[in-house]
Amino acid sequence: MANDYSYCCTKASDPLVLAKIAAIAAPYRGREDMLIEVLREAQPIAGNAVPEEVAAVVSEAMDIPRPKIYGVATFYAMFSKEERGEHIIRMCHSAPCHVRGAKVLLDAFEKELGIPCGHTTLDGRFTLETCECLGVCDRAPAVMIDDEVYGPLTPADVKGVLAKYR
């Protein structure tokens, strides 16, 4: 059942978090061109997501209509409406990684974390996602955890890589 994996957190309704996000957005009032940069900075503070509460605060601070923010936040792969774990594991499944065993590696991550791809561990520590080309095809199959690239990896490496974040 999908619900078993749903990760509940209320970061985005924490007034302190929202105040921080307002402070990030405020200097760019009327600067629509900075919206993506602002959302990227806000997202990690708000549980690695841009939920409605965050969009509302950014909308107010930057004077950008909320539907526009929704449009942007749902267009780009790196934004999520749902809150995610503390660390995002992004497993490349583009062709160069695919032909070097990305699928087997993904299976190993799922097994080690005990969640299917697209979900967050119950302790809220990891979200496992697939993504398109990370631009490190010489290290295929490659994985990015937050801003760090790992590769080439074999299923046997998975435990060791995750240990750094546990």
Partner: protein
């Protein structure tokens, strides 16, 4: 085979973020030449025969002429660093190792067309490159290679970095402009072309990272020197990315005209574990999948086109005998289905249907009629899609059917 290190000459030799170190090895000499005689720059670039390195191969000098000839109070230089094509990593190397070469190229472009502001649109997957670029920009400003009165002249030029947030389509030039403006990265209708109405409606040069890195080299070494490198219609060198089932994956620089076989055997070391090569995808995820009979094709735009291959951004993905072509096509179609922005119908619906059709072959229910449907749909998409994404996305599938038709009809059990 030894690399011909032209753009990558200083890779690993310099502190990437130090403009001073870059200047001690001749860096910013090209900008100095440009500042001394701004009106001569475009002619030099034209004479060099330089063509865009992002995949389309448009003559750079001609692109700049459009922007120079358009009257406007503000013009922009945009660097396309949204290196999203699976199997292409070359721009990452240039930006991480020789960022000042890129800045210099952008500043020269600014001098040539009369732009004072540049943007580097960097893909989100390279946060570690962004750190290097930011530090290098700071240093270049302190040393007066950027900012007000560049190198003591009366020319101002500064560069800002804008990050993407994960969208393949933003590599398309007008989608990229939309994204810099803070919008959804949906391609615009052309014309007007960016050279006339680009960023915020102003004339804009959009060039790939590698293209811009060639500019200072051309000004320093001269158009004739550059023209003597490579093939007649694809002058210069190229950074080739080798990936897939190959022993030594990575980015290597050679003069254009090197053959696929040389890249595969001598540089790449062949397939690992003694496996046999089965196919090559050339020019990224949207390039054709061809058989090994194309291995002797020279890597240049003209030779690749003549052979039915694709030069693209110089990337080659090698596929060994263990890989199923239908499985690979499914993977590629999943990619395009996911990355289609949805603005135009042929691409949005077409990729969805192509994926559906490929999956029929994966589970063994595909028929000859389905292959015909694929070809029919593919030709509609190529003709009617708004941007390069939908125009090119059927290419790997159509070429794979041409070369590996049996694999499709035998149930995809490879």
């Amino acid at each position: 085979m030894e690399e011909y290190k032209f753009l990558t000459y200083n890779v690993g030799k310099l502190n990437p973020v130090s403009a001073t170190e870059y200047a001690t090895v001749g860096g910013y000499a090209g900008l100095k030449i440009a500042l001394a005689n701004p009106s001569a720059v475009i002619q030099t670039i034209k004479d060099s025969g330089l063509r865009g390195r992002g995949g389309a191969g448009f003559p750079t000098g001609m692109k700049w002429t459009f922007v120079r000839n358009t009257e406007a109070d503000q013009k922009y230089i945009v660097c396309n660093a949204d290196e999203g094509e699976p199997g292409t990593n070359k721009d990452r190397i240039l930006m991480a190792e020789v960022p000042n070469l890129l800045f210099e190229g952008m500043a020269i472009a600014g001098v040539a067309v009369g732009a004072t502001k540049g943007y580097i649109y960097l893909r989100a997957e390279y946060p570690y490159v962004k750190e290097i670029l930011l530090k290098a920009l700071d240093d270049a400003r302190i040393r007066h290679f950027l900012g007000k009165n560049v190198m003591g002249s009366d020319f101002d030029f500064d560069i800002e970095i804008r990050s993407g947030a994960g969208a393949y389509v933003c590599g398309e030039e007008t989608a990229l402009l939309e994204s810099i403006e803070g919008k959804r990265g949906e391609p615009r209708y052309k014309p007007p072309f960016p050279g006339v109405q680009g960023l915020w409606g102003k004339p804009t040069v959009i060039n790939n990272v590698e293209t811009l890195c060639n500019i200072p080299m051309i000004l320093c070494m001269g158009a004739d020197f550059f023209k003597a490198l490579g093939t007649p219609q694809t002058t210069g060198t190229k950074l080739f990315t080798l990936c897939g089932n190959i022993k030594n994956p990575g980015v290597y620089e050679f003069q254009t005209g090197i053959t696929m076989r040389e890249l595969f055997e001598d540089v790449g070391g062949g397939c690992p574990n003694g496996k046999k090569l089965k196919a090559i995808q050339c020019g990224g995820a949207s390039g054709p999948i061809v058989g090994t009979d194309k291995l002797d094709t020279k890597m240049s735009i003209e030779d690749c086109n003549a052979a039915g291959a694709n030069f693209g951004a110089g990337d080659l993905m090698f596929i060994d005998e263990d890989q199923g072509i239908v499985d690979l096509c499914e993977n590629l179609m999943e990619f395009f289905e996911e990355e289609s922005c949805g603005k135009c119908t042929p691409c949005r619906e077409g990729n969805f249907r192509l994926l559906e059709l490929v999956r029929k072959f994966k589970d063994g229910t595909g028929t000859e009629t389905d292959l015909d449907t694929i070809e029919d749909l593919a030709s509609t998409m190529m003709d009617a899609s708004l941007c390069g994404l939908g125009q090119a996305s059927p290419i790997p599938l159509v070429s794979a059917i041409k070369y590996f038709r049996n694999e499709f009809l035998e149930g995809g059990n490879y």
